[in-house]
């Protein structure tokens, strides 16, 4: 069974730590070139097509700012 996923990042609360990026098995996410109002580069889906909705990024996020959605395809 294959899955396709997508994440939503609360960019204002993201601290740009990069722990999610290091733990994404599909290299979907990256830290943005832009920063939020606190000056942190926030996490975003650089390659949304690659996301499988595995939740790994969200599980390791210290600030719980990632929400994960997943569909069967």
């Amino acid at each position: 069974m294959a899955f396709k996923g997508a994440i939503v990042v609360d960019t204002e609360k993201c601290k740009g730590c990069g722990v999610c990026v290091a733990n994404c098995p599909t290299q979907t996410i990256a830290l943005a070139k832009k920063v939020n109002s606190k000056g942190y580069p926030y996490c975003y889906m650089e390659f949304p097509d690659k996301c499988t909705g595995c939740s790994n990024c969200a599980v390791v996020c210290p600030d719980s700012v990632i929400t994960v959605y997943r569909v069967k395809i």
Binding site: V21, A22, N23, S55, N56, C61, D63, I66, Y69, V71
Partner: protein, 253 residues
């Protein structure tokens, strides 16, 4: 399928626990404390014990844990969380009581309290964040600091001659008759975080079954005081902390 069609409540699989408040945590980016707070909140949510759980926050970076996890809290003097947790549990035997402590708090100033609470076998849960440093006060050496590790008070690295040996307090605690479950975990990967969550859940179940004290050490990072990026700090922890503080259960009965 388009991202817009996937992001839909019926496809939701994982998000922030309802037991976490909306307050932004004061922790540095990438700090292990945040991950452990989230796992603790998830266990409380899944066991449906939000109004039956009392936390005891430490002195250390986690002092404000009460602002982030929406349960009842006490805030203990430095190192005294196990003593306050003992009193709280004895006064409210039907509640779940969890003491949350750092390594300076638990393994230095609070050594007596943790050893005796564990030896008495108080039916409490202890979460022990070992980042091998005094995080809150600016990165001084802790009892758990590794040999050769540079800190504000060991600028040339910790030496046995001058500073003694790093203290494996979790191994000591596992020897005590009062403990039923003593484990060492880490939260730098999704698998590690999930294992830590299972350990926290088991600890809460043990306290409901009056089996004694359960202690979960989480080998952690303090990237700010280690002077590394969060990702580098996780890698440094794997390379340097895990050989001395190996992960796994020390006791489970």
């Amino acid at each position: 399928m388009d991202v817009k069609d996937i992001i839909n409540p019926e496809n939701f699989v994982y998000g922030k626990s309802k037991v976490l408040t909306d307050t932004v945590m004061h922790y540095c980016p990438g700090c292990s404390h945040g991950v452990v707070h989230k796992l603790l909140a998830e266990v409380i949510e899944e066991m449906d014990i939000q109004d039956k759980t009392i936390g005891v926050s430490p002195v250390g970076c986690a002092v404000f844990a009460y602002k982030y996890i929406d349960i009842d809290w006490q805030q203990a003097a430095h190192g005294r969380a196990p003593a306050l947790a003992t009193a709280t549990k004895r006064l409210y035997p039907d509640k779940y009581v969890v003491a949350y402590q750092g390594d300076g708090d638990l393994a230095s100033i609070g050594t007596a309290e943790i050893i005796h609470a564990c030896n008495r076998g108080e039916n409490i849960v202890v979460i022990f964040i070992n980042n091998a440093i005094y995080g809150m006060t600016g990165g001084q050496m802790a009892p758990t600091t590794l040999i050769d590790m540079k800190t504000a008070t060991t600028p040339y690295g910790r030496s046995v001659e001058l500073n003694g040996h790093p203290l494996k307090i979790t191994e000591l605690i596992a020897q005590l008759e009062g403990t039923c479950f003593v484990t060492r975990q880490a939260v730098h990967t999704p698998a590690g975080a999930r294992r830590t969550k299972r350990a926290i859940r088991k600890a809460f179940e043990n306290s409901a079954q009056k089996k004694g004290t359960s202690l979960i050490e989480v080998v952690s990072t303090c990237n700010s005081n280690w002077k590394m990026s969060p990702v580098q700090a996780n890698e440094w922890m794997v390379e340097n902390m895990f050989p001395f503080y190996p992960l796994g259960d020390l006791k489970d009965r």
